[in-house]
Amino acid sequence: MQRRSFISSLIASAAALASTGSLAERSQPSLRFLRPPAALAEDDFLSHCIHCGQCGEICPNRCINFFTLENGLSSLGTPYILPREKSCILCMKCGDVCPTGAIKKVVREAKAIIDNVKMGHARVNKSLCLSYQGKTCGVCYRACPLQDVAIYVGMLEQPHVTDKCVGCGLCERSCIQMPQAIRIIPNYG
């Protein structure tokens, strides 16, 4: 094979790969993911994040992962959290290490976290939740780092989420139902 034709076929196959990638992207439903705690609003976040990956390198819980092309070219190399797989433990180290302020610095105290972190908001699916189906559970309540502030339980340990929920996703991670009865609705600011 001539070098020229080899190179042109290489380019053609790369282009074919890229086009199938974008097709797959279009046909898939959008991802439900969270940005790291205290990240800026999505547009600001994208313009500040330099994709250095230090937030992921310092996360002690391995919850921060990085996009390749699943969420489009603009999210390439940016951090995300899938709360059902591994959720944020609100250690706030990523804000300390972020060089560009894409993730804000927040002290690890309940008040500062409640005021500054809004990754999302937990929502209970009552038709799936065991406690709402008459079987006492309360796992999400016990998993919550802000018990009785962000989430409180009523009769049969039925969970009620308040406005103070920061959306860390520990409840979604710990939910024993399959699929999970409590989910974080992401807040991209």
Partner: protein
């Protein structure tokens, strides 16, 4: 001419190239070791040694043996070194690539001063030493130079490899286009086309997370481009970071120069120059990355460092060369 004895370069400077390889290897090894440290930290943080898989236990033990003399609490103490050459943290000191600052400022159309300060030390060093990052630190340079050596071996084995040259000003256009695209899209797009940033990221993804991402495809593409189309082509003609460093290093203080009295016109310096410059005719320019390969290769010790803001003007043929001798003997007659 005959009066002054040719000045000698400082005798250690011909060994700087070895030091440079050492520096490149250390940086690259750090990029490989840090993800393993990270994995160890996460294992330690979860207090679940007994639940680890056998391979994970092995990794835990090895890293623990390596780091325990230096750390009391690995979860906290190993946080001292994080990041890559793109942007990193060393004991609280944050350092960033100047290109990261420029690109981020373009993307957000504002300058975030705490971030700008992280690039201050690299910028000052670049103003002094020019494009030294490209030759001494860049983790992609290690692979690109090994790739150049591979090309030499393949050539000896009889493979036909391209060695085209393009206009080296093209990379300034790449830098400019990248910055314009960044500011239009509001995303730091340059991070996705800058090999050292890609290498640092992808090594972390590959070792600690779910595997190599799309950046590796791009990087292998640049390796193939260098191998098949143009030697060291990406760095010479396309790299946006190289373009920025060249601009910053335009009036660098620390330069390589040729000692014309001891030069014999053998042109080994031109052959070894990774950036395709013309040291034999004193054309270094802003592109030179002070890699010192020409100093190391020179058989007559005719290359040395000088502290000067501009290159020497063309000094003509080397005094030990045939051309110079012919010209001067004609004058004598």
């Amino acid at each position: 001419m005959k009066s002054s004895s040719p000045s000698q370069p400082y005798f250690l400077w011909c060994h700087l190239n070895k030091l440079r390889w050492l520096s490149l290897i250390i940086v690259f090894l750090m990029l490989i070791i840090l993800p393993f440290f990270y994995l160890y930290q996460t294992y330690a943080a979860s207090f679940a040694y007994d639940l680890l898989a056998p391979s994970e236990k092995q990794l835990y033990d090895v890293v623990e043996t390596l780091t325990s003399p230096f750390t009391n609490d690995p979860v906290r103490d190993l946080d001292a070194i994080k990041g890559t050459t793109w942007s990193g943290t060393f004991w609280g000191l944050k350092l960033s690539d100047p290109l990261a600052v420029v690109a981020q400022s373009a993307a957000s159309l504002s300058v975030y001063w705490p971030f700008f300060l992280t690039a201050l030390i690299p910028i000052i060093l670049t103003l002094i030493f020019g494009r030294f990052f490209c030759g001494w630190i860049c983790p992609a340079t290690l692979l690109y130079e090994l790739n150049s050596n591979l090309a030499v071996w393949l050539h000896r084995l009889g493979f036909k490899l391209g060695n085209r040259t393009f206009d080296r000003r093209f990379k300034y256009l790449v830098l400019f286009t990248g910055l314009v695209l960044s500011s239009i899209s509001g995303v730091v797009l340059i991070a996705g086309m800058y090999p050292p940033a890609i290498i640092g990221r992808e090594l972390f993804y590959g070792i600690a997370l779910s595997g190599f991402g799309v950046g590796m495809v791009f990087f292998v593409g640049t390796l193939l481009f260098d191998l098949l189309v143009s030697r060291r082509g990406f760095c010479r003609y396309l790299c946006p970071g190289g373009a920025l460093y060249s601009l910053l290093g335009r009036f660098r203080i620390f330069r390589i120069r040729r000692i014309v009295e001891s030069c014999n016109d053998c042109a080994k310096c031109n052959a070894v120059c990774e950036f395709g410059l013309d040291p034999l005719r004193d054309h270094f320019g802003q592109e030179c990355n002070n890699c010192t390969a020409c100093i190391a290769v020179c058989p007559t010790d005719a290359m040395t460092f000088t502290i000067q803001l501009t290159d020497y003007p063309e000094q003509g043929a080397g005094h030990l060369g045939r051309q110079y001798r012919r010209e001067n003997s004609e004058e004598d007659k």
